[in-house]
Symmetry: C2
Subunit: 410 residues, 2 copies
C-alpha cells in the first residue's frame, strides 16, 4: 500500500465534468489499494475573478488588508474540495474534505504571499486510517493569529509537495493540462519531446524562466525534501515526467531543454560616467523599489571615460525603473527601454562538465542572423536576450542544434 | 453609544456597487458613534449556484454528505464579508471579518438545516472594543465536530437576530430590497400601506404564509429573546417597519395585513368510508412521509355513511401524497388533486378581542363571487383556500373591506 498525493490544477477542476474526471483518477489509485490525499486548485478562472473583485474595492494601501483579500480568495478551493468529496462519496468511495484551519496548515503572517510553516498531520492520518480519501484545498493555510492566508499564485503545487513531504508520501502526482515537461514549448517547437525524467535543478530553471510547468517554490521544496514529483495530464493516461535527483537522470544528454520568457524588458543607459561603484549607484534605487533586475551587461564606451549599461527588468516594472533612474544622481546621456525582447535559455546539468555548449548557442543564433543583446549564465543554463520577433526562429534552431528534436516527429 | 446589528440580504450585496452601498450604510452608523456588527448573505444567485452544483454531483443518499454540501455552500458569505471589510477599510473605517469558526458560532450537527446552539462573543467584543466594525457571514456556523454547517435557506436573518440577542444589541436592522412590512403585497395591491410597527406574532403569520419579509425562525427567535428588529430597504432612506411586542402596536387596528401563498395544492378524497379514526388513517401515511398537511376540511356525504375530506399539502409533495394514500388501506371513491389554488390569510392581533372579522371575509369574497374551498383559523388569522385565478381580485377586495387601503394612494 502506497501513500499518494495527487494535485489537480484549475483546468483539471474547471467544471463539474472535470471534477468527475478527477474523481475517476482518484478512484484508480484507491482501487489499487493506495491511500490518497488530494490537493485541489480552484476552478479555472475563479481565483482571477475573486482577486479582481478584491482589487476593485481596495487599493491595499495597508498590507493588513490582505488578510481580507485572503478570506475572499480562499473560497475558490473550498468549493472544489467539497464538490470532489461529494463526487467520490457518490461513487461509493469514502472521502472527506479537510480545510486548512481544520488540520491546521500553518503559515507565516505574510498575507497573499504566505509560506507554509507546518502541517499537523494528525487528522489526515486518522482520516486515512479510516479508509477515507483526504481532500485538501491547495494554496492556503492559517496564520498564527488564526486567519486564512494564501500562498500566492501557483501555491497549490507548493501545498501538494509540502503535504507529500510531511506525510512522507511515496509519490506526489501533479496533474495539469499538459502531459509532462517538454524539451521546449510544443506550441512553438513541434519537434519538442516529452522528458521521462528531469532533475529538480533543471525544472527549477525552466519554471523560473517561464515554462509554466510547476511553481518554482514547489520545486525548491521537492528538491529540499526529496519528494518524488511526477507531472502528468489529467486528460490522458500518457506517462508523465518524473522529477529526480541529478544523478538519477539516466539519459546521457548534455542539454535538457530550451525555455523562454516574454516577461522581461531591456533598459539601456548610454554614456554613464564611469566611476567606481557606478553599478551600485544604478541598481541601488531599483532595489529600493523592489524591482528585480535580471540580466546585466556593461561595456566600455568609445571614449574610455563612459560606459554603456544594459539590464532587464520585469515588463510591468519598466516605467517604475526608468523613473527611479531619472530621479537618481546618476549621470548619463540617454536612457532607452525596449519591451519587444525575449529571453531564451538553454538548460542542462551536462553543462557542469562540458565546455563549448555556450559557443554552440552563439554560433547557431549567428548563423540565423539573430543578434544577441545580453547574455547571462549560471552553472546549468545560458540565457540570451534577443528581439522578440526572432523568438520562434531561435527556439527551433537551437532545439535542432542541440539534437533535441523528436526523431519520430521528423 | 448604541450597538447595532445590521443584516444585508443577497440583493443588497449582489455586486461590488451594492457592497459599496452597504459600506456607506455601515458608515452612517459608525459616524453616529455606534458600534456595528454586520451580518451578510451571499451575493444574490450565488448560493443557488453552489447548491445546484452540489445537487448535480451527489444524490445525498446519506445525510452525512451534507457536511460537504455545507463546506461548498458556506463560501458565498465568506466572499461578501471579505469584500465588505475591504470596502470599509478603503473608506478609512476600521473593520474586520470574523468567520463562524473564528468566533465560533456553534450549531447542532444537522447539516444543511442546522440550528445555532451558541455564539462565543469574546472575539466580537474585543474587536468592537478596538473600534472595529465586525463583519460576519450569515447562514452558517460550525458543529461540535468542527465542520461547517449551514442553517438552511433564509438563515442569515436568523444569524443576525441570534447575534443581536447574544450581544444584547440595541437594534437589529434587517436590510432588504423592500422598505418594510406592508399590509399586503404592493405588487398586487397597489393601495397597500407600509406598517410602521407590527407585532412579532403577526409578522410570524405573514412570514409562514408566504410574505417573504423575514425568515420564520428569525422572527421566532426575535420574539423569544425580545430583539428589536427593524425591516428596512438598503436602497432608500425611508423609515422601515419595527417588530414589537403586541402591546406596543399603538395603532388601534383590528386587521394588520393580508398575506397569500401559492405554495399549496388541494387534495380531495370523495366518499371516504366514515368510520372512527378515519382522519388518522389518512394522515398517518402522510406523516410517515414527512408531508406537511396544512388546512383540513371534512364534510358528511349525501348518504350519511361516507365523508368527503379535503386538505392541502405543499405543491411539490402532491405526487408523493397521492401515492401515499393510494398505497394505504383507506377506502374511498375518488382522489382529486388541484394545484391551481391559493391561500389567502387575514392577519391581526385584534382578532383576539373582536368577533365578526371572519364573517366580513366570507361576505366580501361572496360579494365578488369567489368560492371558498377550505377554511382554517388560528387565534390571530383566518385563512381560506380559493381558486388561484381569483387571488388578485380577492386580495384587493379584502384590503379595501378591512379598511387597510392607503388613503393617499386613492
Amino acid at each position: 500500500m502506497a501513500l499518494i498525493v495527487q494535485k489537480f490544477g484549475g483546468t483539471s477542476v474547471a467544471d463539474l465534468d472535470c471534477i468527475r474526471n478527477v474523481a475517476t483518477r482518484v478512484k484508480k489509485e484507491v482501487d489499487q489499494g493506495n491511500q490518497v490525499v488530494v490537493v485541489l486548485s480552484a476552478m479555472a478562472g475563479v481565483t482571477n475573478q475573486l482577486v479582481g473583485w478584491a482589487n476593485e474595492v481596495s487599493d491595499f494601501s495597508d498590507h493588513n488588508q490582505y488578510a481580507e483579500y485572503d478570506t475572499v480568495v480562499c473560497t475558490g478551493e473550498q468549493v472544489t474540495v467539497g464538490l470532489l468529496a461529494l463526487c467520490l462519496q457518490n461513487m461509493g468511495i469514502s472521502a472527506r474534505s479537510w480545510l486548512s484551519w481544520q488540520l491546521p496548515i500553518k503559515t507565516d503572517s505574510f498575507h497573499s504571499k504566505a509560506r507554509i510553516e507546518s502541517i499537523d498531520t494528525t487528522n489526515i492520518r486518522s482520516s486515512l486510517d479510516k479508509g477515507e480519501v483526504v481532500v485538501i484545498p491547495g494554496f492556503q493555510g492559517i496564520t498564527e493569529e488564526g486567519r486564512l492566508a494564501t500562498l500566492g499564485r501557483g501555491g497549490s503545487d507548493t501545498s501538494a509537495v509540502a503535504m507529500a513531504a510531511v506525510l512522507e508520501a511515496d509519490r506526489c502526482d501533479i496533474y495539469t493540462d499538459v502531459d509532462g515537461v517538454y524539451t521546449s514549448d510544443p506550441r512553438i517547437v513541434t519537434k519538442a519531446r516529452k522528458l521521462n525524467k528531469v532533475s529538480y535543478e533543471e525544472v527549477l530553471e525552466m519554471a523560473s524562466l517561464g515554462a509554466k510547468v510547476l511553481h518554482t517554490r514547489s520545486v525548491e521544496m521537492a528538491m529540499k525534501c526529496g519528494v518524488k514529483v511526477q507531472v502528468r495530464s489529467s486528460f490522458s493516461d500518457a506517462q508523465g515526467t518524473m522529477l529526480v535527483e541529478e544523478e538519477e537522470v539516466m539519459e546521457r544528454r548534455l542539454i535538457t531543454g530550451i525555455a523562454y520568457s516574454r516577461n522581461d524588458a531591456e533598459i539601456t543607459l548610454s554614456k554613464v560616467e564611469n566611476i567606481p561603484g557606478v553599478a551600485a549607484h544604478i541598481f541601488g534605487p531599483l532595489a529600493e523599489r523592489e524591482i528585480n533586475v535580471d540580466m546585466i551587461v556593461q561595456s566600455i564606451g568609445d571614449d574610455g571615460n563612459t560606459t554603456d549599461i544594459t539590464f532587464t527588468v520585469p515588463k510591468e516594472e519598466v516605467h517604475n525603473a526608468v523613473e527611479a533612474i531619472e530621479n537618481s544622481q546618476i549621470k548619463y546621456d540617454k536612457i532607452l527601454s525596449d519591451k519587444d525582447v525575449a529571453k531564451i535559455s538553454v538548460i542542462g546539468v551536462g553543462m557542469r562538465s562540458h565546455a563549448g555548449l555556450a559557443q554552440k548557442m552563439f554560433q547557431t543564433l549567428a548563423d540565423k542572423g539573430i543578434n544577441i543583446r545580453v547574455i547571462s549564465t549560471s552553472e546549468i543554463k545560458i540565457s540570451v536576450l534577443v528581439s522578440e520577433e526572432y523568438l520562434e526562429l531561435a527556439l527551433r534552431a537551437l532545439h535542432t542544434a542541440y539534437d533535441l528534436d523528436d526523431k519520430e516527429a521528423e
